[in-house]
Amino acid sequence: MGDKALAMKGGREKASVFSVLARNWSFFFLVLTVVIFSFTGKNFFALNNFQSIIHLATTALLLACAETFVIITGGVDLSVGFVLGLSAVASASTMQLLYAAHWSAPASVLVGIVVGIAASLACGLVAGVMIARFKVPPFIATLGTMGIAIGVSYHICGGFPIGYLPPGLTDIGNMYVLYVHPASGAWSFFARPASIAANQIKELVRIAPISFILIFVFLLLLWHLLKNTRFGQHTYAIGGSMDASVRAGINTRRHLILIYVLSTFLAGLAGIVDLFQSGTGNFTTFGAQLELFAIAAVIIGGASLMGGKGRILASAVGVLLLKVLENGLNLSGVQPFYRYIAVGLILIVAVVIDQLFPDLF
């Protein structure tokens, strides 16, 4: 028995070098692309560029996290991209109205955020109830809420970005944690050092955009939720076998509704982030395909559309891979449409790896 157990352990260890490589191929591929673009891309290998890649990936990361939960249950959420836009225009128009009615800037911003998030939660609730209670396939249910989200956001914004918002949104959204002025040695947190004039801003080294903190906190929270809690365990179980989950006494209906509400909550949050970063309430354009890139990132991270598997951090790597490709190809002077070809190829590779080694993940 002892010998046998030992032999099995040995076998596992040996296999694990390969399986660690294969499980995390997207991560190694990400490292590889960074190395390649560092040679080919003009100004690619620079602190500013790396920070801006992650900064601009914030909303995509949130959408991918949302999609990860949904895809693990065996569903798909097509609405996230347009819920992002709905949240942005709903909160922006609320802020605009309240600020125009002489509310204070913080009050109108806070109320605006609440309205945007509430609109997003409503979308998830509708989709979740349709899926869990009325057994509508997730594809159709979220296609429905996607249509509603598009219609409502166009109704609110009339097809134009919403401006005239309370001042200071972008100051918060694009703030850095640390500012250093190498020439004078001055430094400060969250704002440029008082000794530095506005025209010297180019000389500042800015470290860690505020979005890093947001993303770090949310990745940590959602990773914990998926990995260490009953909620996460039941999410995997539902994706693995609905039948087994029902018979184990899991309230699968409630759980599925919560999953879709969580998904649109994260999408709504992404809309708020977009509002803070851009300073205008942008609706999602039809060609944006935000939800498709989120799904692609999750699949590249090793999840399966059949459900039952997926990891938050792997999905995050998937997003970063797509963003690095976009940025790196651009800086290497490659025409933009090649990016779509690259994404398509990587997606196919991801699915082929999943098919060839189904037990790895």
């Binding site: 009953r230 995997y236 179980a237 076998s241 989950s245 184990a248 039952g308 189904p358």
Partner: protein
């Protein structure tokens, strides 16, 4: 004599069809009863009444000598009546401890305030129960998908036993298993029997039933047609009862 579980005059109709007609039976502690019959004889309907999936139109269920009301599978589980269906109802993407504890996960406090899954505890308890049932699973961390049919069956059985099953219903436990694995399941059933658990086994594998069952109950067209003591019967008699004597004489 004291039955762990007894059903009296159970009748279940689906519209005009009488699926189970006035059937009574009982199982003692530490006894294995084989439930036999052709397809559509009413075996599955009967066990679904016991496990709370269907509600009987007439008749009563006694558990530990007390009349009980079983309205849902959860009621049955809470009493200690566990059913292992043919499809086992395991989440194949999760590992053994996760399946044994599915829906009843053990939590612990991390950092003093975070409620997190206690993987170590669940793993320890799982290996204990598997050891108790004399089942070897190469690595508990492997997903169910990586296990053989017999090992999956073993996990399903362990889950029931861990949660204190006093009565176990097994639907075709040896179907779709290799010969060696069938033997293993049979010996597991015998082990459970020695722990004093009452068991109903439904099977088409006559050979297996003769190996494990103390008594056999044979159903045909919704009715109980015979109750036999395994020692005093043989396969020919059982088969003729299953298909119906008139068919045999024809």
């Amino acid at each position: 004599m004291g039955y762990v579980l007894e059903v009296r005059n159970i009748t279940k109709r689906f519209g005009g069809l009488v699926a189970v007609n006035d059937v009574s039976m009982g199982v003692q502690a530490g006894e294995v009863v084989g439930l036999l019959g052709d397809n559509g004889a009413g075996k599955s309907t009967l066990i679904k009444v016991i496990s709370g999936v269907y509600k009987a139109d007439a008749g009563k269920i006694l558990f530990m000598d007390k009349e009980v009301q079983i309205d849902s599978p959860m009621d049955a589980l809470a009493m200690g009546i566990e059913t292992i269906y043919q499809d086992l109802a395991l989440a194949e993407n999760l590992n053994t401890p996760a399946n044994i504890f599915l829906g009843r996960e053990k939590m612990k406090k991390a950092l003093g305030f975070l409620n997190v899954l206690d993987h170590a505890y669940m793993q320890k308890e799982s290996s204990k129960i598997l050891e108790k049932l004399d089942i070897l699973i190469p690595s508990l961390r492997n997903r169910i998908r990586a296990l053989s049919g017999g090992q999956r069956q073993a996990v399903a059985i362990s889950r029931s036993i861990y949660w204190d099953a006093k009565f176990l219903i097994m639907d075709e436990p040896t179907a779709a298993l290799g010969v060696a694995e069938q033997k293993k399941v049979i010996s597991t059933i015998n082990l459970l029997k020695s722990h004093g658990i009452g068991i109903i086994v439904i099977s088409h594998q006559m050979h297996d039933i003769f190996q494990v069952a103390d008594r056999m109950i044979i159903m045909r067209r919704g009715e109980k047609v015979a109750e036999l003591v395994t020692k005093n019967t043989n396969a020919d008699e059982v088969v003729s009862l299953i298909v119906g004597a008139e068919t045999v004489t024809k």
